[in-house]
Structure formats: C-alpha cells, structure tokens
Symmetry: C2
C-alpha cells in the first residue's frame, strides 16, 4: 500500500423525507441567509423547491434564489451566481439538484469569497476559502455530495475543467432516495455508467496489489449493476434507488483509491471533451469512451482486466470482461460508439486536440498524447 | 435500506514514518500543551515515545506524560489521567499506543472538561464536551483510531462498559504500519479476531437485504484473513501489515453498518464480561464467544450464515462456515473454548450474570436474558 491521507468531513443524512431537516440544520449552524442554487423545471414541478423554501422560511433562514443551472454547468452562469452571492452577502450555499447543480454551487461558494474571476481556480490557482456548502441531492451519479470536486465548462474556450479542494466538501448532504424515483430511465442509466467510471479508473490504472481496495471497487460495481437493473424495471423501487444512491456516493468519496498510489482518470479526461464539445450527458460520453479505453489499455496491462472479467461477470479473459460491460451498457440504453451520439469519425482529431489540453493540465500528457487519445477514440467508432 | 446518518470527521495520515508529522500538526492546530498518554514498555523500548517527545519539543509543543495504561484499560487509572489533565490544563490529548491507550485517552478527554466522575458517562450521562484527541496507533485491531467509541473497565464493579459520542472521534490519527511490525503473533491474532468481530455483529444481526453492506463486510473479512495469514509467516511484511491496519480501521469506522437498521453486538457484550472478569485479551475472548454465538444464532437465522459460508470460505451450509471460521481461529493460535483460556464451566452462571447487566444497559436484554447468555456460553465448552 502507498502512503495516503483520508479525510472526508461531509455529514450524510440519508432516508425518506430527510430534506425536511434542512431548515433546522442551517439555523443550528447559525446561517441566516443562503444562496439557493437549482436547475430548471424538475425541482419546481416536483414541488421540492417549494417545500425547501417553505422549510427555510419557517426557521427564519432567508434565501436568494439562483436557478437555471444546466447539465454540464457552464462558466457564464457560474459567474452570475458568484456575483449574486457577493451582492447579497449570503452566509452559505444550498444546492438542490443533481451533480451539475452541486458542482456549480461549489464553484460559486469559492468565487463568493475570492477576488477576480472564478475560472482561475479551474486552471490551477489555489483555493483559500469557500462559503459553507449544503446539498439536497435529487440525482444519484456524480458523488459530488461527498467529495471536494467540482466540474464546470467554459463555453468560450470549450474547456470542461475541475477544481479539487478540501474546502468544497459539503458540510451536510441530504440524500433522500425518494427524490430520485422520478429520474427518467436515460439519466438513471447515465448515473450508473458514471458511478462505475468513478471506481474503475483507479482500479485499472493503479499498480497491482491492494486487495482490499480491489474488493471494495468490485462490491460497488456489482451493486450498481444489480440495483440499476431493478431501477429500469421498477423506477419507484425505493430499495433499489436507495442502494444505488449510497453506492454512487461511495464510488467517489475518496475511499476506494486510499493507498493505491498514483492513478489517473483518462476516461473522464477524454469524456470531458465530448461533453464540452457536444454537450452530451457525461454518463453517455463515458459509456462511449470506457469500452474503447479499456480495449486500448488492457493490451498493455491485461492482469487487472482478467480479474475484472472474472469477479464482475464470471467470464474469462480481458476482452470477455470488456465485452460484457459493453453489452450491459447497451442493454441499459447507453450509447457505446461515437456515432450512437451523432459524433462522426471525422471529429476525432478535433476531440483529441481538446482532450490533450486537459491531459497536460492533469499531468498525464506523457502517456496521453493527442495521437494516443485519437487511437482510443478510433476504438469507439 | 434504513435511514441513517454518517459522519466521520477523523483525518487519517497513513504510511511510513508519518508519526513525524505530529509536532507540526499540533502546532498548526494552535495546541500548546498536550497530555501524552501511553502504555508501559513497548513504546519506550521501541524508541517511539522518545521520538514523539523529541518531535513535540522541536515544535515547541509541551507535554505532560501519562503512562501505564493497561490492556483492558481500567477506571482507576483513567481517573488519575483526568485529574492530571485538569491540574495541568492541557489543550489536547495525544494517545500513542494500541486500542486500549486510545480508549483511555478518549475517556480522559471527556473527563477533563466535565464535572464529577468520568464513570457517569459510561452508565448513560450525555457527553457535552471533550478535549481534541490525536492518536499515533501501534496496534491494529480496535478501530478506535477512527470512531467515537471508548471502552473502559470499572475494576470495583467488574463492569466493562463503553461511551459513544461524536465528540471523541480523533481529530487526526496517524497510522504507520511499520510501528505494528513488532506486535507479537498472539496479539496480531487477537487483532484479526477483533476486526472480524466488528463487522460480523451487524452482518448477522441486521435484517436481510443491503447487498452493498454485505459485500463490504465480506471484502473486509477476506482481507483480514489473507493479510493475517501473511503476517504470521512474515511479521515484517509491510504490505500485509498495511493492508491489515487499514482494513481493521474500516471494520469499525461506521461505514459497514450504514443503512442496515437495527443491529446488535451480542458477541462484544458477552466478551466484555470475559475480559472484565478474567482480564483476558479482548480478541481472545471474542474467538471463544463468536463460534458459540454463531451456532446459537444461526439456528434461528440460517440464511445469512449460509451466505457467509459460501462467500468467505467457499463451503456450503451454516455450520460448515462456522466450523471453517473456528478452524481458522485455531490455526492462527486463538483460543476457541472457555477452557482454552482457563475458564471452567462452573463459572458460566457468574459470567452470564455479569453480561446480563450490559445486555440491559444496551437494551438487548429482551433477547439476551441471563439464561440465553448461559446457553451461548455452554456452546463454548
């Protein structure tokens, strides 16, 4: 095992109706005024937003509404949120929504206490302060509810970049699986793909050894597959939604890569270019990139892929495992080739060029040159 | 899944030589004077204590030494620590040792800020404050380094009771597996038994379902067995010590019982009487109690035991799984019957009487009457 530090201070409140605790929580924390960040229609239609506002009002916590966060949240909107948070002098940020809403809310929490433009933190500047962040999650997928990451897309430069800081771990995240029962099948599927992507990056790119971490990852993947298969048949199945929700949180809360040493996130790197350039759902992009990357990478490192095949799908050989995952992606309605998302092979050079920029920022450009990225993408045609 | 809250704020610093970070850590936290709690000889002989003191000294952090914590830490000594902490007005408690040292240090941290006797908190009084707790772990077993529990024995009343509070989670725990390489075989074995006991209590006593949590527990048990088998052959094997150390921490940091609903700790309850009455090692007592309890409980709830048999040992049927675990306990040198620890069958009534007191305090006396506890103990003869 490699040396590591682990510190995840987020408090999770999980279960039916738990969003009702938000007012008392904020009140007890001495917070008088929050920026209430959300997306567009779904939290209004479901009545959740009204219930949250009512709950805050009853506890004397005032709020400033900031809706309109889009899937793959964008920098221009984030900047407006920062301006509003500064102008209104809010004490905290409350995100009500899925991973996109949470990610944008985190960036706003940083920007609200910073001089200058928020994008500087996405390109390397150290984060020194952030408003306290609270979340009510409505879509299980990104793990943002229990980690210190945020991903935002700069529409001008077409860069989908991230920040990572201990300061943007939510103080409290409220996870009520009931709120995810209305998530449509396609977005549930993208969430399942995303959760798997979060654990397999380190699982495949780390050094051999660390059996405990391997087992934790396998536990997560098997549970994602089992629970998502139920969700597609029975969207209202609370048990399956709950199981999936907590599993997706654990998939990216820092636990599974503890002690595994250096590892990289090439699938996320390449996918970020797909969603930055084509605005497709992150999980959809990952379903396209993953089988391709796995085929490319397994040629050099077959052992862990053989283990994956055996442990997850009970089949023998690296290719059989990859094919089984790809087949499952197809069965659950995820795209698995670029053309499934309407992306032509002619765009590969341009996508690779975009991804190479992120590879450089993440320090993995020695392995992931533009040429290598294009090779991977050609396996997705 | 049942509703739950999860919040584990302890920061883990894991790896070779990491105890060297203790001085800077305390200094950065603004702590000027700590109570340095330890056991008896081993941390002196190994030179660890001198290194820690030197490290504190160089950073200008002063300390008051409080050694002499015994295995199964006792109330009389804890009270002395509380007196010393109050008299010396320390800012924090630094525990250097195994689970016993950490547990006593936690109790002292509570007592130092409380009026009246520390034992009142072990018998139900709510904990309202505690000094910040820092730990350097030298023996992997109890999980105390990343949880809010502490167990202390009242020698007068022969009660081994516990406190549980969010206030006694260590702020930082330093885990250097190298420090555990000198732990003798018997205590390494007791640690392995203890770690398994921590996860199987909920695994067997919870309601069916919660597949993720089942898999996490199975991952932990399999890793404990695999790593401990290496440790017994190669005590200096860093990888095995590291794997075991982190696994033992995760075995009781609150993760595995998330969402499983009501569960109980009957093995710990009964064992606490054995170590309170005979001062045997906690892990040794658990190795005696567990197979007996499992045989008793599996008669009423066979399904999860069949799963355990299959998943952990690849054998079929509840009894085969229990027998396999018992055989492994024997192979690694743990006692498996009362007489192996020199305890006669004539004592069973007396032990059951003691354990029944704890059953009442823990609210499980409806199931665990004195008669039932005696029945379980008779299966350990």
């Amino acid at each position: 095992m490699y040396d590591f530090e682990f510190h995840n201070p987020t408090r999770i409140i999980f279960g039916r109706g738990k969003e009702e605790s938000i007012g008392p929580l904020l009140k007890d924390a001495g917070l008088a005024k929050v920026l209430l960040v959300y997306g567009s229609q779904s939290v209004k239609k479901s009545g959740l937003l009204d219930r949250v506002k009512d709950n805050l009002g009853r506890r004397g916590v005032s709020y400033v509404e900031f809706g309109g966060v889009v899937s793959n949240p964008v920098l221009s909107h984030t900047r407006k949120g920062v301006e509003l948070a500064k102008a209104e002098k809010v004490d905290a940020v409350l995100a009500v929504g899925g991973g996109s809403v949470l990610d944008e809310a985190k960036a706003i929490a940083v920007g609200a206490l910073a001089e200058g433009d928020i994008w500087q933190f996405f390109t390397g500047k150290e984060i020194r302060a952030a408003l306290p962040i609270y979340t009510i999650l409505t879509l299980a997928a990104t793990g943002s509810e229990m980690n210190g990451n945020s991903v935002v897309t700069n529409e001008e430069t077409r860069q989908k970049y991230n920040i990572a800081s201990p300061l943007v771990y939510p103080k409290v995240s409220i996870l009520n699986p009931q709120l995810t029962c209305t998530v449509p099948a396609d977005y549930s599927t993208y969430g399942a793909v995303d959760a798997i992507a979060h654990v397999i990056e380190a699982y495949f790119t780390k050094k051999p050894g660390t059996r405990l971490q391997d087992r934790l990852v396998e536990s997560i993947i098997k549970t994602v597959i089992a629970s998502h298969n139920v969700i597609l048949k029975e969207p209202d199945n609370y048990e399956a939604r709950a199981e999936f929700m907590w599993t997706a949180t654990l998939a990216l809360n820092g636990l599974t890569p503890t002690g595994v040493g250096d590892c990289s996130f090439p699938n996320h790197m390449i996918e970020h270019s797909l969603s930055a350039l084509y605005n497709i759902a992150h999980g959809a992009g990952l379903a396209i990139v993953m089988p391709a990357w796995m085929r490319w990478y397994s040629r050099q490192h077959p052992a862990q892929f053989e283990r994956f095949a055996d442990r997850i799908f009970g089949v023998q050989g690296a290719e059989a495992g990859i094919a089984a995952l790809e087949k499952w992606f197809q069965e659950i309605g995820a795209p698995i080739r670029l053309q499934d998302a309407g992306i032509g092979a002619d765009d590969i050079e341009m996508i690779a060029d975009n991804a190479a920029g992120l590879a450089k920022l993440w320090g993995i450009d020695a392995v992931y040159s533009k040429g290598v990225i294009a090779d991977v993408l050609r396996l997705a045609t």
